[in-house]
C-alpha cells in the first residue's frame, strides 16, 4: 500500500514537472521581433524574426525566452510578449491548416479582421490611414532609446519582467 502511495507521489511530481516545463517550440506572434544576445532591450540585436517563425525554447527568465532557430544558426533571447505557444499558420490557403485552426492550438494568420478587410475599409474616406502609416513608419532606433535611458539615468532594461 505504501509503495503505491510512493508511486503516486512520484507520478504526481513527474506530471507537475511536465506541466511546469515550457512548450518545446513557440511561434512569433508579432509582425517582427528581434533576437538579442542578452535578456533585455539593451541586449545586442543578433537577428530579426517574422510573424509565424518557429523557435525552439531553451529556458525562460523574467519575461524573456531563450530560443534557437533551426536552419538559421540563430540563438538568443526574445521577449515573451512576442511569442505564443500556439502554432501560427500563415494563410497561404492550405486546407489542412484551416481544419487545424479549430483545435485551439493553431492561430490562423489572416483570420477574421485582416489586410483584405482593411483594403475594403480604406475606400471609406472617413478613415485617415495615411497618418497612421506615417506613425508606424517612424523608426525609434534601439541605440537612441539606450542613449535616452543613459542620459536620464533610467533603468529601462526591465523588459516586461512581471
Amino acid at each position: 500500500m505504501r509503495r503505491i502511495g510512493l508511486l503516486c507521489a512520484a507520478l504526481l511530481a513527474l506530471s507537475a514537472a511536465a506541466a511546469a516545463e515550457q512548450p518545446k517550440s513557440m511561434s512569433v506572434n508579432v509582425k517582427e521581433t528581434q533576437v538579442r544576445a542578452t535578456p533585455g532591450y539593451l541586449g545586442k540585436v543578433l537577428g530579426t524574426l517574422a510573424y509565424g517563425d518557429r523557435v525552439q525554447v531553451a529556458q525562460t527568465q523574467q519575461g524573456w525566452v531563450k530560443v534557437s532557430v533551426a536552419g538559421k544558426g540563430l540563438a538568443g533571447w526574445i521577449n515573451e510578449s512576442a511569442l505564443t505557444a500556439k502554432k501560427v499558420v500563415l494563410s497561404s490557403g492550405s486546407s489542412s491548416a484551416s481544419q487545424e485552426a479549430s483545435s485551439g492550438e493553431v492561430a490562423l494568420a489572416g483570420k477574421g479582421f485582416n489586410s483584405q478587410i482593411e483594403s475594403e475599409n480604406r475606400k471609406d474616406d472617413s478613415f485617415d490611414y495615411a497618418t497612421v502609416d506615417r506613425m508606424e513608419r517612424a523608426v525609434v532606433a534601439p541605440e537612441a532609446v539606450a542613449a535616452f535611458l543613459k542620459d536620464g539615468a533610467l533603468a529601462g532594461d526591465a523588459g516586461g519582467g512581471k
Partner: protein
C-alpha cells in the same frame, strides 16, 4: 440539468467578486466552483459553457488587434490635425518606447507609436495594439518629463491590458472572429467581404465611441493607473508624478467639458487610489545631474508646446 443550472448560478454569483478583483472570467469561475463545492462534472459543464461565452475577446489575435487599432486610430485622426513638430514627436516616441519596453506587454503586433494632436483640448486616446494619441492641451499640463511619462504610461496601460477590445460588443465578435475561423483562410468572396467589413466597422465604432464619448469604466481607468505606476517605477521615475499630473488637470479641466472630463472619472477618485498604492513605498531617487538632464530635454522638446 436543473441542478446544474442552479449550481451555475451559484458559481456565477461567487465568481463576480473574483472578476472584480481582476481575474478573467474563466479563472474566476474555476475559483468560485471550488469554493462553492460544486461536483467536478458539473463544474466542467459550467466551465465549458462559460468558455463559449468568454471566448470572443481572448480569441482576437494580435494581428486582428492590429487591424482594429489601425482603423480606430485612422477614424480618430480623420478630422483631427496632427501637430507637426519633429523635436516634440521624436521626444514622445523615445520616452514612449522607453516606457513600453518596461511595461507588462512590451511587444504588440505592430508596436507602440505615439503622435501629438494639434488641439487645445485636454485628451488622450489609446487605440488597440499601441497607437497612442495625445493632445497639445494635455501636454501643456505637464511641467516635467516625469509628468509626460505618467500620461504615456497610463495610455500604455490601456493597450497592454487590451481595454479597447473589451469595448467591442460580444455578438459582433462571435460572428467575426470565431464564426468564420475556417473560411477566412481563403480570400473572402464579395458577400462575405461586405459582411465582414460591416462587422469590422461596427467593432471599430464600438471602440471609438467608448474612447470619445462614453469612456472606460472606472475600474478599467484605475487598472490603467495601477499599470502606469508599476511602469514608471520600473523605469526609474517617481510614480507620484501621475497623481501630480492629475492635480494639475483637475484645476484645468472645465466641468462638463467634452474632452477628458467627460470620459474619465473624477481626478479626485484616481488620486486617492494612487496615493493608497504608493503609501509606504520609497520613490526612486534621481541624482541631481540626471534630474537636470531630464528637465533640459523636456524643455527643449515640449517647453513651448
Amino acid at each position: 440539468m436543473k441542478a446544474v443550472k442552479r449550481a451555475a448560478l451559484a458559481v456565477l454569483a461567487v465568481a463576480l467578486p473574483f472578476m472584480a478583483a481582476g481575474l478573467d472570467f474563466g479563472s474566476a469561475l474555476k475559483e468560485a466552483a471550488g469554493k462553492a463545492g460544486v461536483k467536478a462534472s458539473d463544474a466542467q459543464a459550467i466551465e465549458q459553457a462559460a468558455q463559449a461565452v468568454a471566448k470572443s475577446a481572448e480569441d482576437i489575435t494580435p494581428e486582428q488587434e492590429y487591424y482594429l487599432g489601425r482603423a480606430v486610430a485612422a477614424k480618430l485622426l480623420s478630422g483631427r490635425k496632427s501637430y507637426e513638430n519633429q523635436a516634440a514627436a521624436k521626444y514622445i516616441n523615445l520616452l514612449g518606447r522607453a516606457l513600453s519596453n518596461c511595461c507588462e506587454r512590451p511587444e504588440t503586433f505592430g508596436g507602440y507609436h505615439f503622435l501629438i494632436l494639434d488641439s487645445d483640448e485636454i485628451n488622450a486616446f489609446a487605440a488597440p495594439g499601441g497607437l497612442i494619441l495625445v493632445t497639445r492641451g494635455l501636454l501643456r499640463c505637464a511641467s516635467s518629463e516625469e509628468a509626460v511619462a505618467a500620461i504615456l504610461a497610463h495610455e500604455i496601460g490601456h493597450v497592454a491590458r487590451q481595454h479597447g477590445l473589451k469595448a467591442i460588443k460580444k455578438d459582433r465578435l462571435t460572428k467575426a472572429v470565431i464564426g468564420v475561423g475556417t473560411a477566412a483562410a481563403q480570400v473572402l468572396g464579395p458577400e462575405e467581404l461586405k459582411e465582414q467589413t460591416a462587422t469590422f466597422k461596427d467593432s471599430v465604432g464600438d471602440i471609438t465611441s467608448t474612447l470619445v464619448n462614453s469612456g472606460y469604466s472606472r475600474d478599467l481607468e484605475l487598472e490603467a493607473d495601477k499599470a502606469a505606476l508599476e511602469n514608471l517605477r520600473a523605469l526609474g521615475y517617481d510614480p507620484a508624478a501621475l497623481a501630480d499630473m492629475l492635480r494639475v488637470m483637475q484645476k484645468k479641466l472645465k466641468p462638463g467639458g467634452l474632452d477628458f472630463a467627460k470620459t474619465h472619472p473624477d481626478p479626485k477618485v484616481r488620486i486617492s487610489a494612487i496615493e493608497k498604492q504608493l503609501k509606504g513605498k520609497a520613490p526612486p531617487q534621481a541624482k541631481p545631474e540626471a534630474a537636470a538632464a531630464r528637465q533640459a530635454r523636456f524643455k527643449a522638446a515640449l517647453g513651448s508646446i
